[in-house]
């Protein structure tokens, strides 16, 4: 396969944008025009008030770490991360100003030094290469460094 055929894709459509010349990649949200509730990802209806008038918005790049843990055992198949050697990684919910809490991998951090309420920012990174050789990206959060 030549580099021309290699594609970049999101691990799940509608949750985030891929990095481009203009933008590092950001999270997509949907806001209900009836009740104001905000959801992570593109959705055409509101799971709170059953409204069908949704506005696609860009979610904030930054939020606060609500809780966290470290996965010391490798996740089961069909996990696409590096199994051998396995490197423990952190995950947690990040609360965004829009009022939504999102579960995410936590990267670029000392996994032994995480604390609740840390300032976090989103990054969109390649996570694995699929069978067709395409680069598959996911969103992650990392601590904001001063």
């Amino acid at each position: 396969m030549t580099n021309k055929e290699k594609k970049s894709m999101a691990v799940k459509e509608g949750l985030f944008t891929l990095p481009s010349a203009e933008d590092r990649g950001h999270l997509i949200g949907s806001k209900c025009r009836s009740c104001g509730e905000v959801f992570f990802g593109r959705t055409s209806f509101c799971s709170y008030c059953q409204g069908v008038d949704m506005e696609q918005i860009r979610l904030s790049d930054r939020g606060k770490l609500y809780n966290y843990t470290v996965l010391r055992y490798k996740p089961p198949a069909p996990w696409k991360g590096v199994a051998d050697p396995y490197q423990a990684f952190a995950a947690g919910f990040i609360e965004l100003p829009e009022g939504v809490r999102i579960l995410s991998i936590i990267t670029d951090c000392d996994i032994e030094k995480l604390t609740s309420h840390m300032d976090m920012e989103v990054v969109v990174r390649k996570y694995y290469e699929d069978e067709a050789g395409n680069d598959v990206y996911t969103y992650m959060f990392r601590p904001v460094t001063k």
Binding site: N67, F93, I105
Partner: protein, 381 residues
């Protein structure tokens, strides 16, 4: 609505039985329950089969092995709370006058290791590793530690207590006590949860015969009343539980377990202060602390105090998981929720052997599954 009673129960030992098929395990357990209920297979009018990892139509296959009698047989699945849903279904059928005698049974043979995530999570969650059940229990634990100051030591104490109880239970997979040090030194799976603070997937089977009081007495058995059997899903927003990858910080509602418990207390006229024993979903050690609060056995944030004061061990005012809970029994999904009800039944009858809660007359069982969904049952002597 008619009063519903449990007139017979059966439980297969929990563990690993590589040579034994699920059909064999279930039939053996069903025969025990039928004998206990003084009822023949032919008198069963409907069967409810709780299972998750076994194939579709597990219920019919088991009933075919028992003997085809033309009765309706349903498989019922609600992830880890399947037993609660199956019980509710059987309960409704008798209470509503549709049948007089039904069988509710659960059976499971689970693969070893982390539960296969594709049944529970979206594929993309599996691909990026956000598909590990203990991760959620660990995150809940962290939130509870931040909010109420619960500690790793408290979680370890739950494990010590439940293993101590499990050592008294001949049906439990793990019948060995452990020390606080052993728990805290066992490998960390998802911080702050240690291996000895997580239940193991395994195999087992449980069966109950539900009928009317009149018939139970006529058959010369000692019925235990099912005061109520409740199943609930949460109110918005999705709780921090598999398989959610988002939730709301704007809207808050009562915890799922509290919703289910309050409905159970209201319908039965029995309050948490009336309970003599509780079997709850200690899928992870800290879960027992949150659930004891959400079942309103104590105010929010005081689950640790209940544990510290010895209230929840056998001999205390309100033993929790006298059977050893999921931590000692393991969690064979389809069977687990019904194993709890069998335990409560035995406790009400005074048949719980060395783990008997003295004078137990009223008991509650609580089961939670991915989704999430929750089942609560209250039984009374």
């Amino acid at each position: 609505m008619r009063e519903v009673v449990v007139s017979g129960v059966g439980l297969h030992k929990l563990g690993r039985f590589d040579g034994k098929s699920y059909v064999e395990m279930a039939c053996e357990t069903i025969r025990t329950a039928l004998k206990d209920a003084n009822v023949s297979w032919k008198e069963i009018q409907a069967a409810y089969c709780s299972r998750m990892y076994l194939p579709p139509t597990t219920g019919v296959r088991v009933c075919a092995a028992m003997g085809l009698t033309g009765i309706p047989v349903w498989d019922i699945e609600s992830a880890c709370a399947s037993g609660g849903s199956a019980l509710r279904s059987g309960f409704m059928a008798i209470a509503g006058g549709f049948y007089d005698t039904v069988l509710v049974f659960g059976v499971e043979k689970m693969p070893r290791g982390f539960m296969s995530p594709e049944n529970i999570y979206d594929l993309w969650q599996c691909y990026v590793g956000l598909s590990v059940n203990p991760m959620y229990f660990a995150l809940e634990a962290r939130a509870h530690m931040d909010k109420y100051g619960s500690t790793a030591k408290h979680f370890a104490k739950v494990s010590v207590k439940n293993h101590k109880h499990g050592a008294l239970n001949p049906y439990a997979m793990y019948q060995k006590e452990c020390t606080l040090d052993e728990v805290l030194n066992s490998r960390i799976v998802c911080d702050p949860l240690h291996l000895l603070e997580l239940c193991a997937p395994n195999e087992g089977s449980a069966a109950l015969v539900l009928t009317t009081r009149k018939l139970a007495v006529k058959r010369n058995t000692k019925p235990i009343t099912v005061c109520t059997s409740v199943v609930k899903t949460p109110l918005y927003p999705p709780p921090l539980f598999p398989p959610a990858y988002q939730t709301s910080a704007r809207i808050q509602s009562l915890p799922l377990t509290t919703l289910a418990a309050r409905q159970a207390y209201e319908e039965s006229g029995i309050g948490p202060e009336d309970l003599d024993m509780v079997e709850l979903q200690d899928v992870a050690a800290p879960s027992e602390i949150f659930y004891s609060e959400e079942l309103e056995l104590c105010p929010p944030g005081e689950g640790c105090r209940l544990l510290d004061e010895g209230v929840t061990e056998i001999g205390g005012r309100l033993p929790i998981n006298a059977s050893g809970g999921l931590l000692s029994n393991g969690e064979p999904i389809g069977a687990s929720g019904l194993r709890q009800v069998v335990e409560v039944t035995w406790q009400m009858r005074g048949e719980a052997g060395r783990r008997q809660v003295e004078g137990a007359k009223v008991g509650l069982s609580h089961v939670v599954g991915a989704g999430p969904n929750c089942g609560v049952v209250i039984l009374k002597k």
